[in-house]
Subunit: 580 residues, 2 copies
Amino acid sequence: MNIKRYFPILQWLPLYSRETLVSDLLAAVIVTLMLIPQSLAYAMLAGLPPEVGVYASIAPLILYAIFGTSRTLAVGPVAIIALMTAAAAGNMAIQGTEEYVTLVLVLTFMSGVMLLLMGIMRLGFLANFLSHPVISGFITASGLIIASSQVRHLLGLEVEGANFFMVIHGLFSSLGEIHLISVILGVGTLVFLYANRRWGKSFLNRAGVSLYTADMLSKASPVFAVTMTTLITWHWQLDQVGVRVVGHLPSGLPPFSLPPMHPALWQDLFVAALLISIMGFVGSVSVGQTLAAKRRQRIDPDQELIGLGAANLGAAFTSGMPVSGGFARSSVNYDAGAATPAAGAFSAIGFAVVALFMTPLITYLPVATLGAIIIVSILSLIDFKSIQHTFAYSKSDFAAMLITIVATLLLGVEVGILAGVGLSLLLYLYRTSRPHYAVIGRLPNSEHFRNAERHAVETDERLVLLRIDESLYFANSRYLEDIVMGLVIRYPQVRHLVLSCQAVNLIDASALDSLRTINRRLKDSGVQMHLAEVKGPVMDRLKTTDFLDEMSGVVYMSTYDAWKVLHERAEAEESGQSND
Amino acid sequence: MNIKRYFPILQWLPLYSRETLVSDLLAAVIVTLMLIPQSLAYAMLAGLPPEVGVYASIAPLILYAIFGTSRTLAVGPVAIIALMTAAAAGNMAIQGTEEYVTLVLVLTFMSGVMLLLMGIMRLGFLANFLSHPVISGFITASGLIIASSQVRHLLGLEVEGANFFMVIHGLFSSLGEIHLISVILGVGTLVFLYANRRWGKSFLNRAGVSLYTADMLSKASPVFAVTMTTLITWHWQLDQVGVRVVGHLPSGLPPFSLPPMHPALWQDLFVAALLISIMGFVGSVSVGQTLAAKRRQRIDPDQELIGLGAANLGAAFTSGMPVSGGFARSSVNYDAGAATPAAGAFSAIGFAVVALFMTPLITYLPVATLGAIIIVSILSLIDFKSIQHTFAYSKSDFAAMLITIVATLLLGVEVGILAGVGLSLLLYLYRTSRPHYAVIGRLPNSEHFRNAERHAVETDERLVLLRIDESLYFANSRYLEDIVMGLVIRYPQVRHLVLSCQAVNLIDASALDSLRTINRRLKDSGVQMHLAEVKGPVMDRLKTTDFLDEMSGVVYMSTYDAWKVLHERAEAEESGQSND
């Protein structure tokens, strides 16, 4: 049982059939062919030699097939993670140096270890601290950064910049040095890929191609672009006239690599590796869950951490780069009919064949083509509509999104995420620190109690019924004290105060102290304090303390019970007084 | 109206009567007399010359009388703030140097500005992030640190240490150098003060003294101890045989001081000043609220920030130290019958008289006496019972408390508070990230729905009713996706899923995205999604989006409505199918 949890392969391999073998093999061939350009491109985006992208698509896939729980997720280099890798390693070394490659290996290794540890310690919930607006803002900002960084390849320029705005500025100020043939290749590829993405499928379909084939052909457009631009560049030897090409790549299986174990290095890269791990996990799990739901399957987020951790460790020891489950990869895999993780293992074999025999074929691949592939695949990430929707829905979510975007563009990817997470936590706590509350009254002839300010209800000014719409915890416990003491001043006749707790899911130690304080202060003011509708788990906890004995009043099952008893008692006391 | 809010003095001064004048004057005389020893002692605790404690009890009191909202709060030097001041200034300069005094003035000034700004921006809620267990743990740890730091004065030793444990170690290793006469004076005072605190009041009362007089006499015991030990030391000239005395203090009103304006210094002291401000505010407000409640008065926390800010600015420009509303001071003031803040202003005059004429009288006051006064007044802060109660009530609150205590003792006061706040936030988010949920069913013959696992209820496996007991926000939105998809797998027959939202006080943008995702995934699995019992404000927000159109099902007013409609529909569909 437990072994099967940690090795999900044991769940599906014993049931493996000839039919699933055929579907998996077919899917693997399609995935391998279609994802070669992307793998090269994302390695380039990470500032690494293109073959690293191929290397990172071999061992990690096999390891994920053993440890991952998604049947259709495809791991490998992905754009956002490649960007984050480039940012972290670029802080400490220059792209193209051996030191830089080493830093990437250390990042990959650390990310693998962190994911593995988080999986074993079941810390997958940490990813929850990334709210959707923060993720969406971060992805949009990253998309803009990635696109701007690739425009130089399209234009044949050499532009660097510390942040997004400086890159844009650099591009504009060096527009005079544009390399025309590169532009024709790059922008041509861009237009072709973009047109294909927008209209390719429906065009082919209308031309009589079946929907499935049209879809696959349309997804294969990067392969077509790579083939065509490589052939053109080779035929006219365009590298001789200034078109930058991928150049000679080594042939052979990925060489074994050993990330250096320097604690000082680990400390410097800690935050970056953590953010890479969490962003990779978040992206991967959301893709995995979406695909699993389509087939009524389920993935286990904590085991996914272990799967991704193993995949990254695999990449770290085979000259790779940080990997994650990508949306594009996985949907190709899913659509091509992958039935089990074996499809991933088979496409690892496919990539191994590429690494062994096919690298000479891409010597003349223009860098501008890869830039165009990156830009088109990143365009779908830039989501201005979501910014607009968030603005309309919630100002505080929008604030968190905006700070993430601005900080990412201006100060870099790490600061961007951290600022967004920090602000969204603060805003959430601020929101719950001033919970909604209502003085409630009885809807005539019923047992229902509603907000006295909104409804025509019976009230009794000697008896205040207060409903708090939030769990009581440290961030709002003092506010509760303020509310109650404010009510005592507003209702000078009050003799009984009932706290109606149907929306209270938790009373923490601070709130308990505040309840004690409120009880004491109410007693000083001559008011009895009661509780009503306390939920089971909350009541169980209160019973472990002496608060219920200390409280001047009692606990009623329902607000109606409290009303019935206390209203009558107040009436009786009143008539008793007037009898005196 | 608005002017009166910012100048609360305008609310009470016009109504000022001869009677309140008499009560306030009497209270002022008592407060002045009783608080001289404490003021001297807390200045010493902050590493400052004793007269600074008197200086800090003049201008701040007048300013608080103008800007503060509590009728009975007494501001001045307090123990915890003095300790925090010593820790912050001691990091950057040596006690006794002019630089150290300057640093304290800068801290006082910054704290004044911060409090004022927080008051104007109405940021009083920031104090809520200090949970009670963190505050209580911090105060206990501070109490231990303060007590351990004063033991050396009692024993006539010179011991320093970077943290609590090192001070304790230092005390033990230098026990051989104890100064006997100092010990007799110090420990004698300690025993006298402690015995008086435990038994003094009831002893005097039984001896025939009225309860009020007994209480006041008992509270005057530090004054008595100071007078006696000073007389003894002066008479036998004990300072000649090694008893450390306060020595010659300057006579005169507090000299004007100008805290230096160095941005670099501000940056270094920023965190310390912020924590001093917030801790001072938290302590002050809780004392103020407790006393106000006894007379059914109210204080305004945001205006309290302005009052405390003004008081600290006053201290910064009159050679003082950071001040706050103290429990001991305020309860003496309250018990002595102070009716308005004018009592504070009058006792400021009292302290000015002390500064002008009485400093020669305390030349022979032994430092050991002050140490004993500090230890006894701090003992009530050390609250091991509260640790025990917190442990019994909530393990996560206990964890926050423990980390605060350990970090404060080991790493200092600032790290201690920050670690406690950080952990309590994390734990709260962890708790709400896995909310309680229940599949609910109908209590037979009723409109009530309860947890199907706890109660004998009617259920329908084609119709799953899910109740989530928490607001839906980013920290639990992914968990919600997991829960729902898990239910779809557990109930393969399900056709309708109703999310019952009576405990959902908020749906943020992340949760909205998750609801969209859930809706899409349920649709992929052939399940319709519905909502029930959505609260007004939550519904208003959902209506601004297109989610309700997009959702495959509808929104029902109550869970019962949903059950009635969907149960019948499922029955109809079933019989329709069986007819086919």
